[in-house]
């Protein structure tokens, strides 16, 4: 069963606008959530994370929102830039799992100039 799900395989936005990437999870034991960005032929790079004790975490142009009751998180990128074009993966883990991560399928973001 897919415990972490990204329902949108792709997203296209205009430069300067907001990009919103969504992620849903089913395991209520997850308490730490992360977003990774991946360019072709490179490994994923860590972008931003959030603990379940918070509902928002911000780092520059990137903000992650967590809605625990809905088991939903989202990544907002404002303003979007062409260099943000990449595949974005959300991931989740639970305390005591040794930092084992469960990943979603990924969303290809394309930011058009």
């Amino acid at each position: 069963d897919q415990q972490v799900k990204q329902n949108s395989p792709s997203l296209s936005v205009q430069e300067g606008r907001i990009s919103i990437l969504n992620c849903d999870y089913t395991n209520s034991m997850f308490d730490y959530f992360l977003w990774y960005k991946k360019y072709p032929a490179e490994g994923p790079t860590f972008l931003i994370s959030i603990s379940s004790i918070k509902d928002k975490n911000e780092d520059g142009r990137f903000t992650v929102f967590l809605n625990k009751s809905a088991k939903h998180l989202s990544l907002h990128i404002v303003p979007s830039q062409p260099g943000d074009s990449a595949v974005y993966f959300c991931a989740a883990s639970e305390t005591g799992s040794g930092s084992r991560l469960t990943f979603g399928e990924g969303t290809q973001l394309t930011v058009n100039p």
């Binding site: 490994g43 040794g98 991560l101």
Partner: protein, 113 residues
């Protein structure tokens, strides 16, 4: 800065061959992981290790084994390569403690002919 190095960026092997993928990290991390990434499936965990000589099965361990003889090195072994093991293989590491992001290598694109 954490450095995770995978020995090969691209590898081509034949069906039935025994294949070794090597991963080295330079941050004295306890935990190391092997994933494969396939389009539409995200990153799936093959095996992980919490310490030297320790290993745990991930979600898709069939057809693979691992070796961790030294803390900094984690090897993935395809015992008898098959065409359905053609994929991008990613190694990651993270220190002990909770709520830390994994750091990834650049991946090995493996083709089995």
């Amino acid at each position: 800065d954490v450095k995770v190095t995978q020995s090969s960026r691209y590898l081509v092997k034949r069906t039935g061959e025994k294949v070794f993928l090597e991963c080295v990290q330079d941050m004295d991390h306890e935990n190391m992981f092997w994933y494969r990434q396939d389009p539409g499936l995200g990153l799936r965990l093959i095996y992980f290790s919490y310490d030297v000589k320790m290993k745990e099965k991930g979600d898709i361990p069939e057809g693979y084994s691992v070796s961790r003889e030294k803390k900094e090195r984690f090897s993935l072994i395809l015992e008898s390569a098959s065409t359905n093991q053609t994929s991008m293989y990613l190694c990651a590491s993270v220190g002990g403690g909770s709520n830390q992001p994994q750091h990834f290598g650049d991946g090995t694109r493996l083709s089995i002919l």
